[in-house]
Amino acid sequence: MKILIKGGKIIDPKNSVEGIYDLLIEDGKIKEIGDNIATDSQDIEIIDASGKLVFPGLIDMHVHLREPGLEHKETIQTGLQAAAKGGFTTVACMPNTKPAIDDRTIVEALDRKARGEKINLKVIGAATKNIDTDQLTEMGDLKEAGIVAISNDGKPVKNAYITRRVLEYAKQFDLILIEHCEDESLANGGFIHEGYYSTILGLKGIPRESEDLIVARDIALAQMTDAKVHIAHISSKNSVELVREGKRKGIKVTAEVTPQHLVLTDAAVEGFDTSTKINPPLRSEEDRIALIEGLQDGTIDIIATDHAPHARYEKEVEYAYAPFGAVGLETALALINTKLVKEGVISYSQLVGKMANRPGEIFKLGGDLSIGSNADVIVFDPDKKWTVDPDKFYSMGKNTPFKGWELEGEVVHTICKGEFALKDGKVTE
């Protein structure tokens, strides 16, 4: 089957494309980008994209799809449907499941489950067995089975010594360690940012230095081992500075930030809505500004959602008892569009860089519209207004801090491997 996307504004900074062109997809690949591509063939679907934007399919390097073992929160199927709705054609799922994704057989099982789905599922393997231990996972074997990175997300790798060994070992297989940076002793059971709001609400705080300590540790160890470390969901202004400095020194460190940390601050915790309880916590306005600056100057490479679905009954409890996490797949693009692009903070070209090109580059997953590459393409209506209604999410997780927000920008079509995963705003059967 062929698909011809006509008259949309194509944005792909990787290939220096930004303008109104047609895009032809054939046999699951991007065949041609150009002016007025002829349509003589019979077997072709023509999409009118005039007034719309055409991006490479977005890549999300940080989602929790909860399989195996936590299917009451999310499944591969519902998670990938949410991805299609949000414009993501590739998502990488974190290994903090039950059991943890720390063994080849689990990676293979997930691959089998994803086989019938339209969105690309990539798997991140645990760095140490069962996450919080001293035993390295079989990274070579896991890599052969297809993992794209390693992480103990939800927790940092246990201590400096084990992190050193993880980095050394992972380097041989060209695996990047995605690190959840939190010094748990300094965090001391806290669960919102330690600042004015933790003080007035009487909620236990996690100081930003809890993140800084592990970012500093890992940058030092990345330098020592010449391995690659990727800072997950960066949230602290000091950590942004540490990454900036590390990059300046040529250390192989990259970083991601979530839309929620770019858009919200700890002020959102007032009212005790448990969907604002995330880890790392929503931080202060000065941190938020530093994150935006880091995003603008390239210190922060990518935007990732940290999509973390929970069952309603798990979040409908006292703030202190609720699990950490918010869903993000179905709101990320519209939030970035509304709150960053439309307000002149970043350009569409930067958006595509942060959400497709750069994650594709770092983790070798494509993420651009190169001729001959897999046809992962989205058509985005940047001006469509809508209201966030969690009941309409494809995700099983309804825990969003953006409920009721008026956003601009909706994904019209998500095409993955040359097939519609989302058509006219609806996930395809």
């Binding site: 330690e194 600042g195 004015y196 933790s198 003080t199 007035i200 609400l201 009487g202 909620l203 705080g205 100081p207 009212g271 005790f272 409908e316 409890v317 006292e318 703030y319 202190a320 008892y321």
Partner: protein, 311 residues
């Protein structure tokens, strides 16, 4: 009348609402002093105390307030019963709500728990202490006592001495008093001062002698003894030496300054026994005023329209 369904804290209510509560408490206090301590005002009204944490004085204070106003009060010590069976807060409250309970007095160890319950029940809620967030009725009874003893709150310098970090009493006092323009000082060891506290509009001290100088009211907070095992304090005796309210330190206060403590006291830790026995100590009166203020709140939330209505 109170603007919101629930009384959750002093941060989000107005000065006018506080005034109304404090004024309504004045005739309530007269009832307590009567020979027959009962008025029929809330006859037929049904309320429950939901205490998820241990409490003797706050719980009995509410219970007595309810009895003096003829409301029916059911007491649920939830910490020991249903929660251990896995029943959620909403389930517990819902069960009582459908039995006809109109108002919950609630204490809970998690900050924000009454806010959460308030969104999930039609019954009204009085926060009797949530985690480290607020304890509005204690704040109100403290303000009542200050006003009663010292007059206009806006002319006073009040020093809150002790473990502010973990204290809901301190937060409610601060929110209430700053609405009146009271000068509020806070003094504690650095480890017990939460970050950015001065943004609440208070002066923060670690030197107790400096903080007490020129103070009209000193409100001493209880120090939980477990603080010394969690890296916050070296010992109780060191705390007493540098931050305890001793007779000698009373000399720093303004003449006829009053001494307050929300109880229960750790004598020899945050306060010396002689200080409690000092003629300017109003600790016992605070307890009486607590009943009056709670009567006023129950009355305003379940009963009449204004303070003229009680007799």
């Amino acid at each position: 009348m109170l603007k919101y369904k629930d009384l959750l804290g002093l941060r989000n209510i107005t000065k006018e609402e506080i005034d109304e509560i404090l004024e309504t408490a004045i005739p309530m206090k007269d009832i307590i002093k009567r020979d027959i301590k009962k008025v029929p005002t809330l006859r037929g009204k049904s309320m429950a105390t939901l205490f998820f944490e241990n409490s003797t004085r706050t719980k009995s204070s509410f219970e007595i307030a309810a009895k003096y106003l003829s409301a029916d009060c059911t007491n649920l010590a939830v910490s020991t019963s249903s929660v251990q069976k896995g029943e959620t807060l909403i389930d517990t409250a819902k069960t009582l709500e459908v039995m006809g309970i109109e108002l919950f007095v609630m204490r809970h160890g998690a900050s924000g728990a009454p806010h959460f319950l308030g969104r999930n029940t039609k019954a009204r809620i009085v926060n009797a202490g949530d985690g480290m967030n607020e304890h509005p009725t204690q704040g109100l009874l403290d303000m009542y006592t200050m006003k009663d003893k010292k007059g206009d709150l806006s002319n006073l310098t009040v020093t809150i001495l002790g473990d502010v970090a973990h204290s809901r009493v301190a937060r409610s006092n601060i929110w209430g008093l700053i609405k009146y323009g009271t000068k509020v000082r806070v003094v504690a060891p650095e480890t017990l001062i939460p970050v950015e506290l001065q943004k609440m509009g208070v002066e923060v001290y670690t030197d107790v002698d400096k903080a007490l100088k020129g103070t009209d009211v000193v409100n001493v907070l209880r120090l939980q003894k477990e603080r010394q095992s969690s890296g916050l304090l070296p010992s109780l005796s060191e705390y007493n030496k540098f931050w305890g309210l001793t007779e000698k330190r009373l000399e720093l206060l303004n003449s006829d300054a009053i001494i307050m403590h929300p109880g229960p006291m750790n004598r020899g830790v945050e306060i010396m026994p002689e200080v409690y026995e000092n003629p300017n100590s109003v600790v016992d009166e605070q307890v009486t005023n607590g009943v009056a203020v709670r009567m006023a709140i129950l009355f305003l939330m379940m009963g009449g329209k204004g303070s003229e209505d009680i007799n």
